[in-house]
């Protein structure tokens, strides 16, 4: 590989900037991986540890699902219209977040800000619906202290909601940094981590709406 690289870089017609990659970086002979790959990998490890934490909450919820202690059960509480709206908002926001990464890739300030703003508004609408749902439950006497089922429900779904709220703060920070500092490389790396985080939160929500809400409203005799 090194002889190839020397030959290529010595070729005056190619210059130094126009060298096509002969070997993939990050694989021994190819040299170290670009920083972007390493940053993404590190954040990916964090996301997986976060997902493992969520899996523990999912397991707790599944174990405690039937322990309603005489209180309301899942199929008496959940309103699927609310869940469908939340799902639509979060799915749309994950798409606009993808659009924001394309705009960042093309260094387009206007579309970056627009796509991030829409992402943030959709995420905010999601959180508002969740807070409304939670306060409705508490008002009906189905707060987290009512039963083991409700404790585990509020822990699992509330933890996801807390993640989305923190991500909204992060999103606002990214908008301000792109606006004030432009498309600097370190800021684009931060944005890469943010977009991975946002997409991962939607993945956790996919598991929640299917396995908590949709399974929860099934008639109890259908569940194992």
């Amino acid at each position: 590989m090194s002889t190839d690289a020397l030959r290529l870089s010595a070729d005056p017609a190619l210059g130094t900037a126009g060298i096509a990659p002969v070997h993939v970086t990050g694989h021994g002979a190819g040299g170290p991986a670009p920083k972007r790959i390493i940053v993404g990998y590190g954040f990916w490890i964090f996301l997986l540890s976060d997902v493992i934490m969520f899996s523990a909450f999912f397991a707790t919820y599944a174990v405690l699902f039937k322990n309603t202690a005489g209180g309301p059960a899942a199929h008496e509480l959940f309103d699927l219209h609310n869940t469908a709206a939340q799902t639509a908002f979060l799915l749309a926001s994950t798409f606009t977040c993808g659009m924001a990464s394309l705009a960042v890739g093309h260094r387009n300030q206007k579309w970056t800000q627009i796509a991030l703003l829409v992402t943030g508004l959709l995420g905010f609408a999601f959180i508002v619906l969740e807070i409304r749902e939670f306060s409705g439950f508490v008002a009906r006497g189905a707060g987290p202290s009512r039963s083991a089922f409700l404790s585990s429900f509020f822990t699992l779904v509330g933890c996801h909601g807390a993640h989305v709220s923190v991500a909204l703060l992060w999103l606002g920070t990214m908008m301000a940094q792109f606006y004030a500092k432009g498309f600097r490389q370190d800021i684009r790396h931060r944005f890469l981590c943010f977009s991975l985080f946002w997409h991962a939160l939607d993945i956790v929500w996919v598991a929640i709406f299917n396995l908590v809400y949709l399974v929860g409203v099934l008639p109890p005799e259908l569940l194992p």
Binding site: W44, L80, T87, G98, D202, L223
Partner: protein, 133 residues
């Protein structure tokens, strides 16, 4: 800041390449990729809600169907939004993902297995309390 600020100190070519997005893809192609992901995810979401409400499928299988649809949609999200691909750049990400999936399965299915068996093998509380008197 010039374009040269994109070139990384540690890399051979220096290009700030995005994994799974080979250079030369146009903006339209990339948008189309996201739209395809959005369309597939929407279809699977609708399928989940449909499977939940319908009585067309075998009732006891609905919960399993929802689990399968959830896993399928997570796969779509990983491919189209998180750009997990078979690209050599992505090898480490895939290995980490495989390990994460292993741990998640151990935690979820292990907990359910152990706890449901405990439920079966323990005496119910209303029988246990009189015995202690």
């Amino acid at each position: 800041m010039t374009e040269h600020s994109d070139y990384e100190a540690g890399s051979y070519v220096g290009g700030d390449r995005v994994p799974g997005r080979p250079e030369g893809r146009t903006l339209a192609q990339e948008v189309r990729g996201y739209l395809l992901g959005l369309g597939l995810a929407t279809l699977l979401t609708i399928a989940s809600f449909w499977a939940d409400q319908t009585r067309e499928i075998y009732a006891s299988g609905i919960a399993v169907a929802l689990l399968v649809l959830a896993v399928a949609q997570i796969g779509i999200h990983l491919i189209f939004f998180l750009h997990i691909t078979t690209d050599p750049d992505n090898e480490n990400n895939i290995l980490a993902l495989a390990f994460g999936v292993l741990i998640v399965c151990l935690i979820v299915f292990g907990s359910l297995w152990v706890m449901l068996h405990l439920n079966h093998n323990l005496m119910p509380m209303d029988k246990l309390i009189p015995m202690q008197r």
